[in-house]
């Protein structure tokens, strides 16, 4: 029997520690690679498009002459689209999540529904475009309106909102619900005063993810026939519209280099809107966690 000094690192432990360090460096490397690629993309876009960013670019309609062209109609169209999509998809999605988590019996039927919501989140966006074209544009006669676009987008992002909201609601500890029930609360009072306030940060993360997707999606809008050249802004939900990704797509498809730079400018504006939305979410979460 040889005495083992526990403080001397054995070869076997040294190998395990080496593996542990290797894994850490690997993860770090992969993370920085992802960030670096994003950085290069943003850098390229900025170099190309930054020169075009000015008030005139934001407030002008598209034009055949690059120096007069702007994104006004696309910007307003995107804001319409996101606002309408949010006001349709958020209430329906969150209420569906509340129903599934708090009210629905746990049986085969609800399990079937939940599996299919998860499947819907993976359906390609062009399929939603086809559905929107058939149902909203043609059958319901909404034409190529911003409302038809928003309804299509709502279908597209609703599964994401439902899944995120469900996870957030499920994460609320059941001890909190029991505490509230034990002082004679109804289910609605428990949901309203305890479950929702605790779940809001998580729900918000899902909502922002979903709306970010809605802002960037192009395919379903092309499918339902959003216009590519619009010299007016929608004044109501039934007006025709265009949106930023469509305008960007349109510009990048042209042969002239100047229009590619305009597209880069449009991308910067799109990214700025996304950042602004994320910042809002972070702020609301921060306020929520302080309480």
């Amino acid at each position: 029997m040889n005495k083992v000094n526990p403080l001397i690192v054995s070869d076997q432990l040294a190998r395990r520690q080496w593996l542990s360090r290797l894994f850490k460096h690997f993860c770090t490397g992969v993370t920085f690679l992802a960030v670096a690629i994003l950085g290069v993309l943003i850098f390229q876009v900025s170099v190309a498009g930054f020169g075009w960013l000015d008030w005139q670019f934001l407030t002008s309609f598209p034009s055949r002459f690059p120096e007069r062209a702007g994104i006004y109609s696309a910007l307003v169209g995107t804001l319409w689209l996101v606002t309408l999509t949010a006001s349709l998809a958020i209430p329906i999605g969150v209420l569906a999540a509340i129903y599934l988590e708090e009210y629905a019996p746990k049986n085969r039927f609800t399990a079937f529904i939940e599996v299919n919501i998860a499947n819907l989140a993976g359906v390609p966006s062009i399929v939603y475009g086809i559905l929107g074209l058939a149902v909203f544009v043609r059958f319901m006669g909404l034409e190529r309106s911003v409302l038809a676009g928003a309804m299509t987008m709502s279908l597209l992002v609703m599964p994401v909102i439902i899944i995120a909201a469900k996870e957030a609601i499920r994460a609320v500890p059941s001890s909190l619900r029991q505490a509230a029930f034990a002082v004679g609360a109804t289910r609605w009072q428990v949901v309203r005063h305890h479950v929702l306030p605790s779940a809001i940060p998580g729900i918000l993360t899902g909502v922002i993810l979903a709306l970010s997707r809605a802002i960037g999606e192009t395919a379903p809008l092309i499918m339902i026939g959003a216009l590519t050249y619009v010299a007016f802004v929608p004044e109501g939900p039934l007006d025709e519209f265009t949106a930023l990704p469509i305008q960007i797509f349109n510009w990048t498809a042209r042969p002239q280099e100047t229009f590619h730079e305009l597209a880069a400018g449009g991308i910067i504006v799109l990214l700025a809107i996304l950042l602004l939305m994320n910042a809002t979410a972070v702020y609301i979460r921060y306020r929520g966690s302080k309480r």
Partner: protein, 252 residues
């Protein structure tokens, strides 16, 4: 025992989860303004029995009841009984302190408010906090988050939250199991004061605690009520050998 008034009574009560009985044909009276302790090894059904007294088992999927629980003369599980009404009369304190992530004041005030109880809410909160022996420690910081309190204070806050509803019965599910001995002693002292006004049913793992605080003790094993009687008698002259083995620490 007949000179006491029974306020709650389980009558041939069987509770099953997905068909598997957790409580089997238990008949047990709970006497008014007394402390009744339910003891027994883990999984003996004591928590299940306790939770059936204010219908907290309703939230468990696939639970079924046979027999009756009578609150005064009303069957608690009769179809016309609203469980929310039951929980107004029969409050509960849980194993792990579960204050709302709100201020100390809101924790106590929320129950009375949502139930539209009238009277001065500030007074009601103060009374409940005094009854729970917490007022002196928190009176200067009622707007602080309840989550900043110590574990023992949080549990007394949960007791105050239950008291603010002015229930007749308070059910306590191992209220001291997560607390240190000092906080435990605090809560045990509190129980003696509370039984002047309230009926208390306490589930506990701790036999010394049952012997110290309770007037009546029920010993359960594998869903059966093995023995029930005055605490003195159960601990010193148990009629069943299983009870004797358990209270003397030979198993459990």
């Amino acid at each position: 025992m007949t000179e006491y008034n029974s306020i709650l009574k389980a009558d041939a009560l069987t509770i099953a989860y997905a068909g598997a009985p957790a409580v089997r044909a238990v008949t047990l009276p709970i006497y008014e303004k007394k402390i009744t302790a339910i003891i027994g090894p883990s999984g003996c059904g004591k928590s299940t029995l306790l939770r059936s007294f204010n219908r907290m088992n309703d939230f468990v999927a696939d639970v079924s009841h046979e027999g009756q629980i009578r609150y005064r003369d009303q069957d608690l599980y009769a179809p016309e009984v609203d469980p929310v009404e039951v929980r107004l009369r029969i409050g509960m304190v849980f194993q792990k302190a579960n204050p709302f992530p709100k201020s100390i004041f809101r924790n106590v005030a929320w129950g009375p408010e949502i139930n539209g109880m009238d009277g001065d809410i500030n007074l009601r909160v103060e009374t409940a906090l005094r009854q729970a022996a917490l007022w002196d420690e928190v009176s200067s910081r009622l707007d602080d988050s309840a989550l900043n309190l110590s574990g023992g204070q949080q549990q007394r806050l949960c007791i105050a939250r239950a008291l603010a509803m002015e229930p007749e019965v308070i059910l306590m599910d191992e209220p001291c199991s997560a607390l240190d001995p000092v906080s435990t002693a605090h809560i045990e002292d509190l129980l003696f004061e509370l039984k002047e006004k309230f009926t208390i049913v306490i589930v506990t793992h701790n036999m010394q605690q049952a012997a110290r605080v309770s007037d009546f003790t029920a010993f359960m094993e594998m869903g059966h009520l093995v023995e029930y009687g005055e605490t003195d008698q159960v601990f010193t002259r148990p009629t069943e050998t299983r009870t004797e083995e358990y209270v003397t620490g030979r198993f459990g």
